[in-house]
Symmetry: C2
Subunit: 352 residues, 2 copies
């Protein structure tokens, strides 16, 4: 009678079993002070025998902290964002938290709806890749949050975590130069995207530092898709050019599209055209040749974002932009023009 068969044991059941009050049981379970070692052990033992597990809903109710974190990203199906989610998930789990994942599909309405769901679920805070341009939805959110990804640039006053585009471009350009390429053609994203300007600016800065005139670089725009890259590459090949062509694509999907366009034009990669991408998506490993690219630290971003979020929640505001370094992944899509017999060397280096 005292405790039903399938009701889940509460702290009161533990207290009764241990012969103490629920206050004492709570103290023992919380590991706090002012309690005899003997009582604590008795309570702990009672807890395990009745199979007690703390009810986070009740804790959240009482303490105002639910232990829930929100993550709003464009699409969990996108490998980059899955990587971010994984990092966030692991970091949250480290401190006993759980992650609520939502996909916005780059849709402002869905994003707003998801933010509402997070508020109602009483998450302690959220990590958001904002699709909305305006700040309205965000400060309507009313909870601690950190922004993630390059679109965070639009919001000056909030802490954010993103990858270090400038460092990434430098890494790519240095690699190109080390392989004997000096003035790569660029395949960039649409003109209205902020990331495009940032990428281009970084390339220019690097050129200036190396005494290369940025004006000589061929530039094509396209959608951030395989098809966009393919079209851009086609246009690039139609331009007059002499000898080996080198392409720096602002996105791996575009780079893979470019690779297709090269093949379709009857040319070979990397013998005739060298390609380097940017993102580090897994598919790049399985193209032929494998795609040399700069990988964004997706998982690291997720981890760092959760750390930043905890700081916001604890009112230890960093209010800083964090930029995490990217890393080069060498596969076979870049010819080595710095040696005497580039073609043969490259052909062998395609796979390891």
């Amino acid at each position: 009678m005292s405790s039903s068969r399938n009701r889940r044991p509460t702290i009161i059941d533990v207290a009764e079993r241990a012969g103490v009050s629920k206050s004492t049981a709570a103290r023992a379970l919380a590991g706090s002070s002012n309690i005899t070692e003997e009582t604590r052990e008795r309570v702990l033992k009672a807890a395990t025998t009745v199979g007690y597990e703390r009810n986070h809903l009740a804790v959240g109710m009482r303490s105002g902290r639910s232990g829930l974190l929100g993550l709003v990203i464009p699409d969990i199906t996108n490998p980059f964002w899955a990587d971010v989610a994984r990092g966030a998930q692991d970091k949250a789990a480290e401190s006993g938290g759980s992650l609520l994942v939502f996909s916005s599909d780059w849709d402002v309405v869905k994003e707003a709806a998801h933010l509402g769901a997070l508020r109602r679920a009483r998450v302690d805070g959220a990590i958001i890749n904002p699709v909305a341009d305006s700040f309205d939805d965000l400060d309507r959110f009313g909870l601690p949050f950190v922004l993630i990804g390059s679109s965070a640039e639009r919001f000056a006053e909030t802490s954010s975590v993103g990858s270090d585009i400038a460092q990434a471009v430098r890494l790519g350009m240095d690699h190109l130069v080390s392989k004997g390429h000096y003035a790569p053609s660029l395949i960039l994203g649409p003109k209205n995207r902020l990331a495009r300007a940032r990428f281009l600016r970084s390339v220019h800065e690097h050129c200036v530092a190396r005494d290369i005139d940025p004006a000589i670089l061929a530039v094509e725009d396209g959608e951030y898709t395989v098809e966009g890259g393919r079209i851009a590459m086609r246009r690039l090949l139609e331009r007059a050019h002499v000898g080996h062509v080198c392409v720096f694509a602002a996105n791996d999907m575009m780079a893979m599209g470019a690779m297709m366009a090269v093949r379709e034009a009857g040319l070979r990669c990397p013998e005739d055209v060298s390609i380097i991408g940017f993102d580090g998506i897994p598919s790049g490993e399985f193209t032929w040749p494998g795609l040399t690219t700069i990988a964004k630290p997706g998982r690291g971003l997720g981890e760092r974002a959760v750390e930043g979020l905890f700081n916001e929640i604890e009112h230890r505001p960093e209010h800083r932009r964090i930029y995490l370094p990217c890393r080069l992944i060498e596969r076979g899509s870049l010819a080595d023009l710095s040696t005497a017999t580039p073609q043969r060397a490259v052909a062998g280096a395609g796979r390891v």
Copy 2:
């Protein structure tokens, strides 16, 4: 004084504003009966003006339903599981629920820890791809759940959702036959995996139905990885064989590894070796040639799993195994031997 500036408005604030008791406010907000239309409108208006949002923690506390659903999968970074997660997420959001995502990394200890976290978070139920072989962890879970994926086969008594392997194999074999291939070599997973036996059994059944002796099929085992597929393919090519080789791989990663091995052996796909995979991972689109494969309905599995879970929660037990159909994705890795000039036809069909 009556309401602090940054405290979030409760139903009591709404009630005060509307000049009614909290019971009446609750009734109005719940849209329940026994309330004047006029009062309901007054309450609703008060709710929007004070910016009230229902506290799901408190609701969960009182009603025993948190609106939270758990998802425990091996790795959100794996595109198949990301697809599943997306389906589950969308379906959960449809009914106002949220999804807690956890990755177990095929680790029994992590799995158990995640299940514990879900219990403490008071999720209403969970969708689990079980890594543990034993039923112990699962019925220790003590909450409604549905299993997902092929490993669910090990547990007879629980409802589960998986892809229809038999139908998938039939689809693949029919396609092979329609392209003039009759007795494909098989690249299967490790012997201890249940999925291997299921796949092989389906192939055998199909062979019997078509009067093909299953014994003539060459079979190689390997890990479910690119490397595993590459090694298996190498062994397959070492065997004596005449003419065109056709390979049915039990997994896309292995299929891609096989494709590499073909290239490394100086042969061409699909001219010399035809390959068909199984899974439908996105990377298969970017190999050369594109990988023809049978796609598992990842998103559909996630959606169906949530539906099944709701049934479990509402005590409308289906206690059924659901098998969702797979679909064929034709790309270029399979030669068409049914026409007079197979090579040229295939080469053109590689990309659309």
